[in-house]
């Protein structure tokens, strides 16, 4: 185990508490930079989705994880960012301008949503954000002069500094990763400064936060605005990546996927957003793998085990039918949500911390270290 001897207040606020961090993150940075050169273009394209989901994950962590305001409406914020992009592009607005406008406009709308949300708690807030998202979805479908309704909008390739950045080029990949890194750094800075502490205070006890001089309403609105703005930036990248957007892309299911990102990653740390995003995005390639390779493998296995050729073919067919069934992705998602809440409530990052501790303490690790105390429901009605 590593013990840090702190001699300065600086030790507690620096970005990298010791040199080990520099090595780890340096290596990670190099890997990210090198990825387009040794990964297939399909995987690089998945990594772009990872970065977009991770950006939204960071946004949700700030709002839900740190301020304690649940939201099932982030697909709507993403949509607003995406449509702002597509709309402004038509008038020849340059990329940096509409990129920032997407963030700004979504942030303003987030603040507007934040005001009504001030008086709402817990479950009411969840329902209110769902309603907001459904209304936005309907507006996108009906406001045809701007959004072209259900026909959707095309999104042109990014033009920047005289060059084009196609959606599957390494350039676009670097752009997304750059935005992700910037967003993460900004979030870290925010969370280690007074605003971040105010967010956590509001999450844990609004009454105490008030009596410590925190303007609870203002900070809740701030949290909504920041979270929405970051999601708006992600929306701009999302629109470019898909090159075509229509209202049915921004459904409740997408909002749930975003919540899954932080749920699976671990809702108490920014690491969780990235780990969760990787996990969620990789469900798709996994399904493809399931569809393409597994049925054949199962058939071969059953041949090896002595089943007749006819029987093996039947097994292959039925397992292929299962793997390509329509609802499989939904079923897997549903299962993942339940499984993580039940068995890994701290998410992937929590698991990583446990593994790390296991090796640091070997052979003295106790399971009980992370065991949550039995808790009982006290009414959340009275707050």
């Amino acid at each position: 185990m590593k013990f840090l001897f702190k001699t300065d207040y600086e030790d507690d606020i620096r970005l990298f508490p010791h040199s080990g961090y520099l090595w780890t993150y340096g290596t990670l940075l190099i890997l990210i930079a090198a990825a387009p050169h040794f990964l297939s273009s399909y995987l690089v394209s998945q990594l772009v989705f990872v970065s977009i989901y991770a950006i939204v994950g960071v946004a949700l962590l700030i709002l839900t994880g740190f301020t304690g305001q649940a939201s099932l409406g982030h697909a709507a914020f993403l949509a607003i960012g995406a449509y702002t992009t597509a709309y402004l592009q038509q008038f020849g607005v340059p990329f940096p301008v509409y990129f920032l406008t997407a963030g700004l406009l979504t942030g303003i709308i987030g603040a507007i949503v934040g005001f009504p949300a001030l008086r709402l708690h817990g479950i009411y807030l969840v329902i209110a954000t769902i309603s907001f998202a459904l209304i936005v979805e309907e507006i996108l479908a009906r406001w045809e002069s701007v959004t072209h309704g259900n026909e959707g909008l095309r999104v042109k390739t990014i033009q920047m500094l005289g060059t084009t950045v196609p959606r599957d080029s390494p350039g676009f990949y670097y752009l997304c990763m750059g935005v992700l890194i910037f967003v993460i750094l900004g979030a870290i800075n925010l969370l280690r400064s007074p605003t971040g502490r105010a967010f956590v205070a509001i999450r844990d006890s609004e009454t105490a936060a008030k009596s410590m001089g925190i303007n609870v309403s203002l900070y809740k609105v701030k949290s909504f605005a920041i979270s929405a703005a970051i999601t708006g930036l992600a929306g701009c990248l999302f629109a470019h990546k898909l090159s075509f957007i229509s209202p049915e892309m921004f459904t409740l299911q997408l909002s749930i996927e975003f919540i899954m990102v932080i749920l699976i990653g671990g809702a108490f740390s920014l690491h969780g957003a990235v780990l969760g995003a990787i996990f969620i995005v990789m469900v798709d390639p996994f399904l493809t793998f399931l569809k393409d390779d597994i049925p054949g493998a199962i058939a071969n296995l059953s041949l090896l085990l002595g089943a007749g050729a006819e029987r093996a073919a039947a097994i292959e067919k039925s397992s292929a039918a299962f793997a390509s069934a329509n609802g499989l992705k939904g079923a897997i998602y549903g299962f993942l949500i339940m499984a993580f809440i039940l068995f890994e409530p701290l998410g992937l990052y929590g698991r990583w911390l446990k593994i790390k501790l296991f090796f640091q303490l070997f052979p003295l690790y106790k399971r009980a270290t992370f065991k949550r105390q039995k808790i009982y429901v006290k009414s959340e009605r009275n707050r």
Binding site: I13, M212, G213, I214
Partner: protein
């Protein structure tokens, strides 16, 4: 004019008069205790002062300024801090972060400065940290600095809450039953700290307390309350022997 004043303060919940035309005043630098049986309206007075409740009628003044209409968060900005009867700490944060939240009223950085973590933010953070360390030293909290609240014993939480209130650098501090749930030794510590707060830091103290020995040890004056009304006011010994107070406690 007195330092803090409550004029005809009333709080009614429907027909129940939790606080009924209460008048009292605090001089700068004194320790005033409010005593009374359960349900006498002691905590309600605190909640009125920290503006969590709106008074039905009456006015509050602090440093010659009326605070009856101020929002709750600006009460702390004016220099009034409080603790809670049933501990309201930020459960999932470390002691250090809890105390740093107490510094909130002195934070001036803007959102953009914080996102970019400008040198000014870094400098301010160190100043806040220094002030927090002073409070930690004052209340002997060094061993718990990096511990998360949810894992701390009750007695320590009580002290952390006091520390958090002190971190706001208050002029007036409201202590809601500072000794409830503490053992004899911890209560003794608490009485020394309350005295030190007054003499070393020059803080005016208003406290609600049941433990009469603590009350008579630290208080300059005592107010006895029952059914929302003031029964008696004066020196601790005087009030304790006042016939109405004795009657209220014995239920006669």
């Amino acid at each position: 004019m007195s330092y803090f004043r409550a004029e005809n303060l009333s709080l009614h919940f429907g027909g129940l008069k939790a606080v009924d035309s209460v008048n009292f005043a605090l001089e700068k630098g004194e320790i005033l205790s409010i005593i009374g049986p359960n349900g006498a309206g002691k905590s309600s007075i605190f909640n009125l002062i920290s503006r969590l409740y709106n008074p039905t009628s009456g006015r509050l003044f602090f440093e010659d300024q009326e605070i009856t209409q101020e929002p709750p968060y600006s009460i702390a900005k004016l220099g009034i801090a409080r603790t809670f009867q049933n501990i309201e700490l930020f459960e999932n944060a470390s002691v250090l972060n809890n105390l740093l939240v107490g510094r909130h009223r002195h934070c001036t950085s803007s959102l953009w400065q914080e996102i970019l973590y400008m040198p000014s933010v870094r400098r301010d953070e160190k100043i806040h940290r220094h002030k927090v360390e002073q409070v930690i030293e004052f209340l002997d909290l060094e061993p718990y600095r990096d511990r998360v609240i949810s894992g701390l014993p009750y007695g320590v939480r009580k002290v952390v809450e006091l520390a958090r209130a002190l971190c706001t650098e208050p002029k007036l501090i409201l202590l809601d039953e500072p000794s409830s749930g503490l053992n004899v030794e911890e209560t003794t510590d608490m009485s020394f700290w309350i005295r030190d707060m007054q003499s070393e830091l020059g803080i005016t103290v208003l406290m609600v307390e049941h433990d009469m020995s603590l009350v008579s040890r630290v208080s300059d004056r005592v107010i006895a309350l029952n059914y929302g009304k003031v029964l008696a006011m004066g020196q601790p010994a005087e009030v304790q022997s006042h016939p109405d107070v004795v009657a209220a406690y014995l239920g006669a």
